[in-house]
Subunit: 213 residues, 2 copies
C-alpha cells in the first residue's frame, strides 16, 4: 500500500502543518488569533477558500472565548452541528449545546405560520435565553432563515445575540443572510458567500474550544 | 431586507434548480442516475468540484438502492454522518444506521493496538455483519484509516463490503485511501482527492434514499 504511516495521534497535527505550508505557498498569512479557526475550517472541508471568505468582527475570537469561559451555551440550527461539537470540552466551562430543530412544538408552529423550522427555532431559543439570562453563541451552519430571523429580532429590539457564527451553506438567500448579520454590531464569525455547513459550524466552535487557555 | 421570498418547502427545490443551471452553464452534463447524488453533494457544500471528482463504479446507484431496498444497514465512521442520514426513510426498508466510534471497547482496543478508532470500528462492524449475515453499505466521511482497514480485510479474504461510499476529507493518506477502494471490484461511490466529509457522506446516502422507487 502506498499510504504513509502516521501514528493516530499525529494525523491531525500533520494535517494542520500541511495546511499551514500550503497557505504559506499561496502567499496567505493569517492573523494569529484567527489562524486556528481558519485552519480547522479548511481541515474539515479540504477547501482553502475559507482562508479568503471567513470574516471576523473586531476581536471576535477573544470575545467568543470570553463568552465560553463565562458559561455560554451554543445554539445550533442542526443536530449534525450539535453532534460535531465537543460537548465534553464545552461542559468544562458549564456550557451546553442546544438545538431546537427536532422539537415537535417547533415543527407545528413552523407549519402553522408558514415559516421554516430554523426561523421558529431561533425565536424559541431567543425567548429561552432572555428568560434564563444565559449567555449564548448562535452557530448557524445550515439555514439562512435562522440568520434572517436573528436580524429581525435585533431590528425589532426584541433580542440581541451575544455572538453569531454564521456559516450556512446554500443557494437561496444564503449570501444575503450573512450580510444581514455583518451589517449589525453583533460580534460574529461569518463565512461570506455560499459556502459553509454544519461541519464548518462545528469546526469553528471546536477551534474556539481547543484554543481556550 | 434584500432577501428573496421563497416558501420553506420550495427552498430545496429552487436550490437544486440553481445547481442544475450552473452545471449546465459550465458545460457539465451529468449521468441521469448519478445526477441527484452529485447535486445533493454540491447542495451540502456549495462546492461544484464534486461534479468532477465523484466517481461511481458501474451501476453504483442502482446497486446501492437495491441493497437499501433489501434492508441493508449503513455503517458510518462518524456520529455526525449518522445524525445527518434520514433514519426514518431508511427504516422504511428495515435498515439502520450504525456507528461504532463512541463505543468504549473500540477506544480501548485502538489504544492498545496503536490504531485509530475508525480502523477498529471497521473491524468490529465487519465482524458483526459477517455474524449476522446483514447486508451493509459503509459510508466513510472522515477517516482514511477506515478505508485502509476495509481494503486490508478484503485483501486478506476476511470480509468484502457490499458497497462503500468513500468520501473522507483530509490531508494525510486521504487521496491514497480512496484509490485503494477504487482498485478493487467493490461497488462504490468515491470522491477522488482530498475533499469530502461527514456532511457529504450523509448527503450521498440521503440522495440514494430520496430517489428510491
Amino acid at each position: 500500500m502506498m499510504t504513509e504511516h502516521v501514528l493516530p495521534g499525529d494525523i491531525e497535527k500533520r494535517s494542520f502543518e500541511i495546511i499551514a505550508e500550503e497557505l504559506s505557498s499561496m502567499g496567505i498569512s493569517l492573523d494569529p488569533e484567527q489562524d486556528p479557526v481558519i485552519r480547522r475550517a479548511i481541515h474539515s472541508s479540504a477547501d482553502f477558500d475559507y482562508a479568503k471568505t471567513l470574516h471576523f468582527s473586531q476581536d471576535a475570537v477573544r470575545i467568543a472565548r470570553d463568552l465560553i469561559a463565562r458559561g455560554a451555551d451554543i445554539i445550533t440550527d442542526t443536530n449534525m452541528a450539535l453532534t460535531g461539537i465537543n460537548k465534553k470540552r464545552l461542559a468544562a466551562y458549564e456550557g451546553q449545546v442546544r438545538c431546537y430543530m427536532a422539537e415537535e412544538s417547533v415543527a407545528d408552529e413552523a407549519k402553522e405560520r408558514g415559516l421554516t423550522r430554523a426561523a421558529v427555532s431561533m425565536e424559541h431559543a431567543a425567548g429561552d435565553i432572555t428568560e434564563s439570562g444565559t449567555r449564548a453563541i448562535f452557530a448557524v451552519g445550515n439555514a439562512p432563515t435562522a440568520l434572517i430571523t436573528l436580524r429581525k429580532l435585533y431590528d425589532d429590539g426584541i433580542f440581541r445575540p451575544d455572538f453569531v457564527i454564521g456559516v450556512p451553506v446554500g443557494f437561496v438567500n444564503v449570501t444575503e443572510a450573512k450580510e444581514l448579520i455583518l451589517e449589525t454590531d453583533i460580534p460574529c464569525i461569518i463565512n461570506r458567500g455560499r459556502k459553509g455547513g454544519s461541519n464548518i459550524a462545528a469546526a469553528i466552535v471546536n477551534a474556539l474550544l481547543y484554543g481556550m487557555k
